[in-house]
């Protein structure tokens, strides 16, 4: 039996935009193995962001089933979802999203604080920053760091809680190609060393190539032109 970390079944998401009903997801089903590196691709309007929000437990699907690391999250309330996000998901955003008032260490500590951890918080945050190669930048504030360094802080923050999955939304989108490569190899290394499942949302084919599998979306459905491994059907 395979160890699935993500089991999505018939995910449907409908929301109202003014008077119009928008069907962002129209019944998407897929599974992701523990430790897998997966990219989600698709043109804009394909439901990519909605998929990311749903997988990241930022939003609930209108219908369907989503089991994350053994927990069914589709019917949870806001606070339960917050707790799931805190324990099981690490986020890496395109624009880093660090709090400028806090130091690198303070930013990394934030998820631990919301987890209610008080002792050993600092040590754990320091270990996470060391893992991303920022041992000597811990007390710097975001504006004192380069873009690549900021994204490393964000990665340290995403893995500090030992999450089941790391959701990266265009993690190299705001970086030049050289730094972008460094960040990608860091993410892939962390996946190798720690076995953390990595889900990357991107529209960059070069990024998608580096992942083990590509989930392609089009018009809120899995792209019928590709098979489940992301290979184009002939």
């Amino acid at each position: 039996m395979t160890d699935w970390v993500v089991q999505a079944k018939d995910l449907v998401k409908t929301y109202m935009m003014g008077e119009f009903e928008v069907n962002a997801l129209r019944g998407v089903s897929f599974n992701i193995k523990r430790g897998e590196v997966v990219s989600i691709m698709g043109p804009s309007g394909s439901g990519k962001s909605t998929m990311m929000n749903t997988l990241g437990c930022l939003d609930r699907p209108t219908s369907g089933e989503y089991i994350l690391d053994g927990e069914s999250v589709a019917d949870m309330n806001d606070d339960q979802l917050a707790s799931v996000r805190n324990r099981k998901i690490g986020f890496v955003f395109q624009s880093f999203n660090l709090l400028s008032r806090l130091t690198a260490l303070g930013n990394v500590e934030l998820p631990l604080r919301y987890a209610g951890m008080s002792e050993g918080r600092r040590a754990k945050a320091q270990a996470a920053l060391e893992a991303v190669g920022l041992k000597d930048r811990m007390t710097h504030r975001p504006y004192e760091l380069s873009g690549g360094q900021q994204q490393r802080v964000a990665i340290a923050r995403s893995l500090v809680n030992d999450p089941a999955i790391i959701m990266a939304d265009e993690p190299t989108g705001n970086l030049d190609s050289k730094v972008g490569k460094e960040i990608m190899s860091l993410l892939l290394n962390l996946n190798k060393e720690r076995g953390t499942t990595l889900i990357i949302v991107t529209h960059d084919p070069n990024i998608a190539e580096q992942t083990q599998r590509v989930i392609r979306l089009r018009d809120g459905e899995l792209d019928p032109d590709y098979d489940e491994n992301g290979k184009k059907k002939s």
């Binding site: 930022l58 606070d79 996000r85 324990r87 955003f93 999203n97 709090l99 919301y114």
Partner: protein
């Protein structure tokens, strides 16, 4: 910077509350003090009664204000009788008016009191130099005068070394025999701009009244502060008997220091509440400022809120964060405001001292506790709405917010 401006609203509010209450309390203490300095065992007997002027004075009652018999010297003597009024220590009848004093071209208007030697001790006066009116001056109807220091300064430019000079009161020459020490501003205006002449001299030459032997005010010193109510009873019954007035239709009024205290305390109490109320409004305005800045802050930090939620912050965490911020803002404002208000009160006190008024604003612990807790509550109250808005943001929307 912007938080600083917001805090300023609370600072001004709290400072205003502190300063206003301090000034109010100070005024009360100052007036209470000056009334107490009159002497706790002093009574004033006036002619006429408050009731007969407005109350049962209609044609049907048969009595009116016109029927008032004036107080006379013999009334005063009767009160001084130790057998009829054992609670009375000393009695000082006076005639009181205003007069023009002149000395070689300088002139000033001062209160003129026709007094007896007892007046000196009954009013608890003190001589800066010379002596007060004695019985010899009374018997001889002598043209001598004792000046208050302010009157002396108006005429001579100084308050010492004027004994022996001759001044004119309403054109008649009087020799100065003494100058009193300064008493400062009292509840009845300055008592330093005054002049005292022998009772008999005033009676015959300067302050003429309709009836012979008439007096204006009889100052009575009770044997002790505790004996004041007893003295009031004794004096009332003596005068009622002499004026043949039925009980309830007194044609005289006895005022005690306690009566003055009650009146002034109620006046300053209203004043303090009034000032405090105005200051409270400015505190309220400051609170609305806090609410405003917190709403702006929530909008500005939407992305931050979204991020915090993505990282696992629950509604409670966000709510707590913003409530803490707003109450901290107003608490800081409150603390600065207390210091600021204290400073204002101190400056007001210094100004009062510099202008010669004996008036010290009192910053009470109750005012401090009141305004600190009030400002913290305001921070909480006006923080609730912005904080709950922040807590209820959808993480997806908040993260996407630009």
């Amino acid at each position: 910077m912007r938080s600083g401006l917001t805090v300023l609203g609370i600072v001004i509010g709290v400072a205003a509350v502190i300063a206003m209450l301090a000034v109010g309390n100070g005024a009360q203490a100052s007036i209470t003090g000056s009334i107490s300095s009159i002497g706790t065992n002093l009574l004033f007997v006036f002619s006429g009664s408050p009731e007969s002027q407005q109350g049962p004075g209609g044609p049907g009652t048969g009595r009116s204000g016109n029927n008032i018999k004036p107080l006379t010297l013999s009334d005063a003597n009767a009160i001084a009788d130790p057998f009829a009024a054992p609670s009375v220590e000393q009695v000082a009848p006076t005639l009181e008016g205003n007069a023009l004093l002149t000395f070689s071209g300088e002139n000033t208007t001062a209160t003129l009191t026709g007094a007896t030697p007892e007046y000196f001790s009954v009013r608890n006066l003190q001589m800066a130099e010379g002596e007060f009116i004695n019985s010899e001056h009374i018997l001889g109807r002598m043209s001598v005068v004792v000046l208050g220091p302010e009157a002396a300064i108006s005429l001579f430019g100084r308050a010492d070394g004027v004994v022996g000079e001759t001044i004119r009161i309403e054109g008649q020459p009087f020799r100065i025999i003494g100058v009193l020490t300064a008493r400062g501003g009292g509840a009845f205006g300055s008592e330093d701009n005054s002049s005292y002449i022998p009772f008999t001299t005033a009676q015959s030459r300067l302050i003429r009244r309709g009836a012979r032997d008439q007096v204006d005010v009889i100052y009575v010193q009770a044997v002790s502060a505790e004996a004041v109510p007893q003295a009031v009873e004794e004096i009332s019954s003596i005068i009622r008997q002499r004026h043949r007035t039925p009980v309830g239709f007194d044609d005289f009024t006895i005022f005690t220091q306690a009566d003055f205290l009650t009146i002034f305390e109620s006046i300053t109490g209203v004043l303090t509440i009034f000032l405090g109320g105005i200051a409270g409004i400015s505190l309220l305005v400051g609170g609305i400022g806090i609410m405003n800045i917190m709403l702006v802050s929530v909008t500005e930090r939407t992305r931050e809120i979204g991020l915090r939620k993505a990282l696992g912050a629950r509604k409670k965490d966000i709510l707590l964060q913003f409530l803490t911020e707003s109450s901290l803002l107003s608490l800081i404002g409150g603390i600065i405001g207390i210091m600021f208000g204290w400073l204002i009160a101190y400056i007001v006190g210094q100004v009062a001292v510099a202008s010669g008024t004996n008036f010290i604003p009192i910053v009470g612990t109750d005012a401090i506790i009141l305004s600190t807790s009030f400002s913290a509550i305001i921070g909480l109250f006006f923080g609730i709405y912005p904080a709950s808005r922040a807590a209820n943001l959808e993480p997806v929307e908040a993260l996407r917010y630009e």
